[in-house]
Amino acid sequence: MKVNLRSGDVPLGLLLMGFALAAMWNLRELEFGTFTRMGPGFIPLVLAGMLLVLALAILIKGLVGHDEAVRYAFKPLAIILAGLAFVAVALDHLGLVICIPVLVIIASTAQGRVQWKPVLALAAFLTAFCYVLFILALGLPIPAFPV
């Protein structure tokens, strides 16, 4: 029997198993309760147990099966997430007018060859558009300028 480590089942099973075990560890001190009076830990613990069983089944299926190997493209994912992470960190301090153009510029590099002229034009347009629509017109309480 050949063990297949590159199929999607193995990492999926491991990830779900990790979730289930982390949940069980976190719930260990919560009151479980009885059927009549269920404690706060009852339902989550049952669900975590079910998830653990399912994760094991998926893992075993992956180890013995012969699924195709999965190909990942982590570069665009990492770039998009980096852009979002910048907004998450900076929005409260730098405001929309800085965060929007930076996000647009970072995210644009995810497509390989970048044509900077239209990208910069888009950044400027989106910044103005969002400022007018969300801050001026709708009055959403989003930080607009650096503080």
Binding site: G8, P11, L12, L16, F19, A20, A22, A23, N26, L27, L30, E31, T34, F35, T36, R37, M38, G39, P40, G41, F42, I43, P44, L47, A48, M50, L51, L54, A55, K61, V70, Y72, A73, P76, L77, I80, L81, L84, A85, V87, A88, L91, D92, L96, C99, I100, L103, V104, A107, S108, Q111, P118, V119, L122, L126, C130, F134, L138, L140, I142
Partner: protein, 500 residues
């Protein structure tokens, strides 16, 4: 209020200038995102959700539903003209619609799709008006036991209808349920699964999960496999189908409407399942099955009607049971709750203006959509020339603003990142995000009702089979599951999803 007077009352609500405007806006936005591939109704509605807080409740829901059925119209335009589905539910329109366009009958194909959708939209509105009121009266007598069984039935249907592995669909549902228990337990006030992170005490917000799993994942997947967009621009001089098209298309459209109206009710059903099933049905019934895939009018009219009918009747479970049957309806439920309205059978009696206003707005919205789509078709085609490279950064910007606005906190932006990664990995591992999302929405309702049911029965779990309604619901669930697991049904199910 009976259905007819209800509809007239609804028309008077929907005709108010403000509501008319938002109905038009919804139809317009729906068409726009329908035409543009890479942005679906779920992601769009998630972005707009925080803004609906500033709208009148009726106007907000009218706009959101308009986006959903509007996207069904727009999606077929792209499918017919450039053989690329603008929406998942338009995959089928690529088969015969694009072939018609290649034969120089693009105008006729577009008209058949639009008129079929209009017919389906009108019929589905009447279906809702006729069946939703008696259903909500019945549901009002449901206790917690019945509710638990009903939701379990819903989740079972999700597993059966999910594409691919049943094991994975089940795992996604359990994961969604588990995620929904994060936060403070309402009954005891104890915090669960928060791992000491104070931002998790109120649980995870719905919008960042939906945006992460759908919008972010979709963008990354589009970026890793760039599509070639070749627009076959041809003159659209003749926008009217021939008499032969009508003769063959109309019965198909009627069958598609009926099928879509029923399948739209199923959890996880809605528009996508409806059009696949309709295509399979038309191919089986046709005397010329060999024409399918080569420009058969029936193969376009049936599924196009079915997806629009399904999109609309998927409102019924939400309006009568308070249970969203797909992700889009979960967002509509979210919008209602932002406005302080609990989705469920009491909407009809407590908010008749919302119920009938939204239902009647579908009549108006469908009529608007034909006008938005057919004469303005050239304008929509021009939009497709915008390269994706300029399109996805804009989606990201709106996604950030939408997610931040839910609670005015950057914590939700971190959540967006987490679920963006999770969504990408899950999609790589061929897991569907829809069962996870719906389980997440239904989770708190299931837990609350389950605990209440057990308290009322003093810990006796047999109540679920001794209460007649609950027993019937569970029996249906078991039958569905058995059907999905049996090998003979399995192969047929896979076949239905493969091509239709």
């Amino acid at each position: 209020m009976d259905s007819l007077s209800g509809l007239f009352y609804g028309l008077s609500v929907a005709m108010q200038p403000g509501n008319l405007l938002y109905c038009f806006l919804g139809a317009l936005i729906g068409t726009l995102i329908g035409v543009l591939p890479g942005l679906g109704p779920a992601a769009t509605m998630a972005m707009l959700l925080p803004i609906t807080f500033y709208l009148d409740p009726v106007a907000a829901i009218i706009m959101l539903t308009g986006i959903y059925y509007g996207a069904q119209y727009g999606g077929s335009t792209t499918a017919i003209l450039i053989n690329m589905p603008g929406e998942n539910s338009s995959v089928i329109a690529c088969l015969d619609g694009y072939q018609m366009a290649k034969q120089g009958r693009a105008g006729a194909a577009l008209a058949v799709a639009a008129l079929g959708s209009l017919f389906a939209g009108i019929c589905a509105t009447f279906v809702i008006a006729l069946f939703a009121p008696p259903l909500s009266t019945m549901v009002l007598s449901f206790g917690p036991t019945e509710y638990v069984s009903l939701m379990l039935l819903g989740l079972t249907a999700l597993i059966v209808l999910a594409q691919g592995s049943i094991l994975r669909a089940l795992a996604m549902i359990v994961l969604g349920l588990l995620l929904s228990t994060i936060g403070t337990d309402l009954a005891t006030g104890e915090s669960r699964l928060t791992f000491g992170i104070s931002e998790l005490y109120d649980g995870i917000e719905f919008v960042p999960i939906a945006m992460g799993l759908f919008a972010i994942t979709e963008i990354v997947k589009n970026l890793e496999s760039p599509e070639m967009r070749s627009i076959v621009t041809q003159k659209l001089d003749r926008l009217w189908p021939t008499r032969e098209d009508f003769r063959r298309g109309f019965p198909a459209s009627a069958r598609g409407t009926a099928l879509g109206s029923v399948l739209g009710l199923l959890p996880g059903g809605g528009s996508i399942l409806s059009c696949f099933a309709s295509y399979a049905l038309e191919k089986r019934l046709s005397r010329h099955p060999e024409e399918f895939g080569k420009g058969a009018v029936e193969g376009l009219a049936g599924p196009e009607s079915a997806n629009n009918a399904g999109a609309q009747t998927s409102m019924i479970p939400l309006l009568t049971l308070g249970i969203p049957s797909n992700v889009v309806m979960a967002l509509v439920a979210g919008a209602m709750m932002i406005q302080g309205i609990t989705p469920g059978p009491q909407i009809l009696t407590q908010h008749p203006d919302m119920f009938w206003g939204v239902v009647a707005s579908m009549l108006i919205g469908n009529a608007m959509l034909v006008v938005i789509n057919l004469p303005l078709i050239q304008l929509w085609v021009k939009l497709l020339k915008i390269p994706y490279g300029l399109f996805y950064p804009a989606i990201l910007v709106f996604a950030c603003i939408g997610v931040y606005s839910v609670a005015n906190s950057t914590a939700d932006l971190y959540m967006l990142i987490v679920f963006g990664v999770l969504g990408y990995l899950l999609s790589k591992w061929r897991c569907e995000a829809t069962p996870l999302m719906l389980a997440f929405v239904l989770g708190p309702m299931i837990e609350e009702n389950f605990r209440r049911a057990m308290q009322m029965s003093r810990g006796d779990a047999t109540v679920f089979v001794t209460h007649p309604i609950s027993a019937v619901l569970l029996a249906i669930a078991v039958a569905l599951l058995a059907m999905a697991v049996l090998p003979s049904m399995r192969s047929r199910r896979d076949e239905a999803f493969k091509e239709g």
